[in-house]
């Protein structure tokens, strides 16, 4: 865990900032995204991938890693956060590649899919389709609600949301968030 970087960031500090949420969390991820890019892209490039494919799965990986980090009992044991993060990315990229390949195969020959041997890939395939449907629904949220809920989802405090989006105070931001959250639930009822 004592992985001190030249810039002063440590694993402990990154975890602390991720747990803090909001801007602090975003700054920690910005550091990770930039400073570790060489490390987490390298295994993918070696396996024939390209940086754009990693960027496509990275958002989901960050959200998943965040959920783990937020757990009270989260600990890295012997691995560094960088190794943990890189492994998560490689797994996500490999899954995404497999799904893409299976989709391609299915398009060419529908009889070949599903084989029933896909395991998690099967679930991911379905999930991918759900995400696409979800995106269509989320597009109906409206720009203002999207902005509010995106920040809420990233762990921004009401004060931060109010500051960034120009609400008069925290309470106004909270009211707007409540309204948008309900709208979101209504939309997901259709899902």
């Amino acid at each position: 865990m004592a992985n001190v970087t030249p810039s002063g960031w440590t694993d402990e500090l990154l975890i602390r900032e991720i747990r803090a949420g909001g801007r602090q969390r975003n700054t920690a991820w910005e550091y990770i995204y930039k400073a570790w890019r060489g490390y987490y892209l390298s295994p993918v490039l070696r396996a024939g991938g390209i940086p754009e494919q990693v960027d496509e799965v990275l958002g989901g990986v960050i959200v998943d890693v965040e959920k783990q980090v937020l757990k009270e009992d989260f600990e890295l044991r012997e691995a560094s956060l960088r190794t943990y993060f890189t492994e998560a990315i490689v797994r996500a990229w490999a899954r995404a590649r497999e799904i893409a390949q299976r989709r391609q195969t299915a398009e060419l020959d529908p009889q070949t899919y599903p084989t029933g041997q896909g395991g998690n890939v099967e679930e991911d395939f379905i999930r991918q389709e759900q995400i696409e449907r979800l995106d269509v629904l989320l597009a109906r949220l409206g720009e203002k609600c999207r902005k509010v809920l995106m920040r809420f989802a990233r762990g921004y405090s009401m004060r931060e949301i109010a500051e960034e989006l120009g609400f008069q105070n925290e309470q106004s931001a909270k009211n707007e968030k409540g309204k948008c959250h309900r709208k979101l639930l209504e939309l997901t009822d259709e899902f």
């Binding site: 930039k34 390298s42 295994p43 990275l58 995106m150 639930l185 899902f191």
Partner: protein
Amino acid sequence: MKKGNAIANSWNSPTNFDMNNNSVFDKIEAWLSGELPEAEARTFEAEMAADTAFAAEVERHRRGREALDRLAEQALQTDMARWRTSLDELPEPPTDVLPTKGTNWLRWILGGLLGFLLVGAAYWFWPSEKAQSDNTPVQEIVPPQTKSHTPIADTPPNEPVNENKDPKEKEENNSPRLIAMAETNLSDLQGAILQQYGQTMGDDDEENPFFTTGLKAFKGTDLKTAKRDLLQVTKTDPFFPSAQEILAYIYFREKNYPKAVQCYESFASQSADPAADWRLLQFYLMDYQHRKADFSKKLGEISDPEKQHRYQKEAVKLKRELGKIGIK
């Protein structure tokens, strides 16, 4: 028991799971986040088990969570697109772990001292440079261009230096002849790079992975892959200058001379090797149109007998050859 009574009472809710009630709404969210105190969480779960309508509402919130996760991903995609445009600018850690104010004062003092020394050095060397200019009429006294250390990835080529050129000289500026001369003088560059970075370097996982894969590709003459990977080596990385040197060669092969010069300039600024000076001169020559001032200055430095540069003779010879084709 009437639906939702227990939990409604425990939250002082006037209605049965009125989902417009912020308190109930927030409680469900808190439970989903694992933020409810133990006792409240048990009550919540008991009510959920007893009331299918309430359980359905909680499930509705859980689906909402998935949608929020997707929004979080979308927010991150936007952030990442922004971060990609400034990969070299690492964010500072929080102020509570930054060096103390005392250390900052020390930095200010050291910075001031360094500035003072630089000003002093400039004052000390200025007359000698002027004298050198008088002795070598081919030279023009021009302010040195600021060396850029920004990554080369997507920066536009340098704008032409605003100079008053006569029409004849303009023709010569674009002459393939100058590029050919530079190419001849750089014929050993690829070999030098391979020798410098060794036969085994690039196989070691401890290096920057991008540099490793980039160098490997370069060794395998896969310049496209080499370029892609080496462009990912960030400015803060110790391998940045080396990556820039190889990129300079790749751009040179692609005939993208402005970028080749930028990369080599970045490398040479970190190198004490006289050969880097000489090669930088060749890079300036290949992009003479934009780098005339830099070329003239560097040529003057290397050809100056007093400076005893290792490539002094070659520089004098180059100056002579250029003189023959009317380049001053």
